[in-house]
Symmetry: C2
DNA sequence: TATCTTGTACAGTTTAAACTGTACGTAATT
DNA sequence: AATTACGTACAGTTTAAACTGTACAAGATA
């Protein structure tokens, strides 16, 4: 990490990565991506793929795909330094904002989407209502329908709760 | 699912499972566990391992380990029906409560734990402060320390935000 | 223009997770 | 007491994810 490094410092860096990684993984970030992100996060200056590769002891290809993934999630940004040919990357400033937009906003969006999909399912089910009644499986069908209704409410609650979380951070 | 079933109904059940599973997976539930949980959730009566096995098309062993996992997470409960030899299981009532206690409470706990671990790391780092200064890596070491400080605040925020989420549901 | 560098696509490999079938301990049935 | 039924431990298999090395395209350098 950076050019020179010291075994004791590196130990702390590794431990920090290990510890903080657990939290990010908890929220769905892949372990490898988490380690890569934190590596950038705790390094004072932007890093090249080769530097990351050396520090994490993984191939350059892994770093390339990992960085791509982090870029897509908005957790990392590319940085330009004139005179430097290699690509340089750094962790986006402000952990909260990154976290919020990368995870929580995605959850809200996904919750709404899944809810809509369930609504469409319900429409299809209503169309089959007569058939179910004829075949004497109305009980099961109705039960399923009730449950999908609960799922919709659940999704609404998720979306609302996490929206509030976003607002509470903005202020 | 139950004794008799109908292709059309089964199709809806499968689709419901597929759809709702995405949401539960988003919060860290393993795909297999999610499907199993939802199977129980949408079935009007408690199910045996054999019934789950047949419905999901997976081995009985898988069901056994899956159920164990769901029991540990408090998402499923065993149910007694006199005269029935086989173990019967059903999804815990109230999606919210299950969800809250199984996921969010765990997150809060984990966030606090990780924060404590980082605090301990910081103590160790302070002890190495002189060494770092001597070896001219004070800048990197200080930067790392600053970042761990931010991580602690981040963890506090996580814990608080999710605690509020729990409270907002209780009322 | 010819030569190096750098990032990434791709195929192949390693590693880990999910799943299955058999075999056995325990408890119910006869 | 003998037999059957049930759940799960365990070993082995299949499947998917993570990772690597080579090769190549695009851009910089000379």
């Amino acid at each position: 990490m950076d050019k020179t490094n010291h075994p004791k410092l590196e130990e702390f860096q590794t431990k920090t990565i290990h510890e903080f990684s657990k939290t990010l993984e908890m929220f769905g970030l892949a372990p490898g991506d988490a380690r890569l992100f934190i590596t950038l996060y705790i390094n004072p200056s932007p890093m090249t793929l080769d530097e990351m590769s050396e520090f994490l002891g993984k191939s350059k290809t892994s770093m390339s795909t990992g960085i791509r993934s982090l870029l897509d999630q908005g957790l990392v940004e590319r940085v330009w330094v004139k005179g430097v040919r290699k690509d340089l990357y750094q962790a986006n400033e402000e952990l909260y904002r990154s976290f919020l937009s990368s995870f929580i906003e995605n959850w809200v969006q996904a919750a709404n989407e899944h809810k809509n999909n369930i609504s469409h399912l319900q429409m299809d089910m209503r169309e089959s209502h007569r058939t179910f009644h004829k075949e004497n499986i109305a009980e099961q069908a109705n039960y399923l329908y009730e449950r999908t209704e609960e799922m919709k409410i659940f999704h609404e609650w998720i979306a609302e709760a996490f929206c509030n979380l976003i607002d509470s951070q903005k202020k």
